[in-house]
């Protein structure tokens, strides 16, 4: 009945590095982009959504690893979706209750975490094959990768677009208003992706061909 084959889990450091750089959900896999562009007009908003995704990713990965032996394999995808929906709803309610000010700005995008391809693909690709502890670290790495991506983009856009970081004015003018405007989000992500590719080239590695949408076709 258990069709799942177990493979030895990679070491923790690999799991975290993979999430942060090699398979960074935003800059590499180009998954979960909607909020990455939408809420990163300031570090504060990026941080809020990053933390929400981080928590949901870790909890969902762990939940999937916990129940992988008791669910009927045929309905595992709907069950995964429901698990994510539960954690997202809980996150949504907690944030709305205890952080009303920030929630007002990112509320819709917190709800949309449920449609994030990255979360379910980690559950399906990793948690189904591994135990709770490696699944935790895998979720941790991927979530952290997303969080860092959000912070990086948020800092870049807030600094250049508004001349401030976390609301503290650094310079008294707006160096490049464009990056904070709707269109600027796309430019920022494009530039950071190019930067990742450049780092890869410097390290002597071939950057990924960049077809996009790594998880969309399964």
């Amino acid at each position: 009945m258990n069709i799942v084959t177990r493979t030895a889990p990679p070491p923790i450091s690999t799991l975290i590095m993979r999430g942060l750089f090699d398979e960074n959900p935003v800059f590499r896999l180009a998954l979960s982009l909607c909020p990455a562009v939408a809420v990163t007009t300031s570090v504060k908003n990026g941080l809020m959504l990053g933390v929400a995704v981080f928590v949901v990713q870790v909890l969902s990965s762990v939940s999937a690893a916990l129940i992988k032996n008791i669910i009927i394999p045929k309905i595992r995808i709907p069950v995964f979706t429901i698990i994510i929906a539960i954690w997202v709803s809980i996150m949504d309610m907690v944030l709305a209750a205890f952080f009303p000010a920030v929630y007002g700005e990112v509320g819709l995008y917190v709800k949309l975490i449920v449609a994030f391809a990255i979360i379910i693909s980690r559950m399906e690709l990793f948690s189904m094959k591994h135990d709770v502890v490696p699944s935790f670290w895998d979720g941790f790495g991927m979530g952290l990768g997303f969080l860092v991506a959000m912070l990086l983009t948020g800092a870049f856009r807030e600094l250049l677009g508004n001349g401030s970081i976390l609301g503290f004015q650094i310079v008294d003018f707006k160096p490049l208003l464009l990056v904070i405007l709707p269109a600027g989000g796309f430019f920022t992500i494009g530039l950071i992706m190019a930067l990742f590719n450049w780092i890869d080239l410097k390290r002597g590695k071939e950057p990924p061909g960049g077809t996009g949408c790594g998880g969309c076709h399964g």
Binding site: I75, A97, G215
Partner: protein, 296 residues
Amino acid sequence: MSTPQTAVDITPPSPREMMRITLGLTIVCLLASAILGGFYLWTEPAKARNVAAREQKLISQLLDLSPSAEVQEIRRYLLWRGSQLKIFYLTPRQLVQFDASGKLLATTEVPEPVREASAPAEKDTWVEANSGANDEDDFRYVGRFFSGIEANQVAGYVIEGEVPGFKTWIRFFVAINSDYSLRGIEIIEHEEDPGLGDQITEPYFKNQYAGRSFDALLGIEVTKDPLPREWRDAVESLGDETGFSEWIVKYADELPSHPDIHAITGATISSVAVTDGVKRSLGNFRKRMDLVEDYL
């Protein structure tokens, strides 16, 4: 979310398996609803409390209230029976009912539990039950304002208003003195574009309304002229460093030489929307106060 479908089995499952799947999914869904229901019951009161606390803090700031001051909420309701209209005001003490021409119809005492209720929904349910509305009537909550009471004296009012902005609704607070002159405005919720329309929350824009008299404000216009440097410094100084009472003493003479609101560069629509919203809320509030002032 993509992997799912490739894994779908082509052969139809047997009735026995179908039952298992249905049962399994039903249990999972019921469990999910139960968990979420539990969390909802836990977070909802906290949410209501936090939202109310945030509002109170904002109102105290806008009206410069001392910690001992009291903030009262007055909620408005309308009841349509066909084209017949009844108007309700819920003050902390009583529910006051008027007809469309402004004639007093009835007052009802508010019982203790409703007065203390933190969730607005509880108050609304009580008002509906006591409004005499039947199933065909259209009864609805339409808005609210607050009065700040300092040592048994009205220190000022805060009106909540909404106006369609560039993208969606802009929700704002307008704080006024008891002579209807404006103390300041605060944007509560908006979805204007970052970098452009979202500047309505910045002191250099929103403080331009401060200190205007009722009549001056109703006639105020939005200009696309750039905001003069020294006037910008003046309006930006209101708030953190200088309280409103100090500020108005210092700059009262300068207000008439800056009769217009200077629009945000690249966001004239948002600037005009806020100005129209403030004007309308203020005008309507004065008319409403003619009715309800004696019952506060």
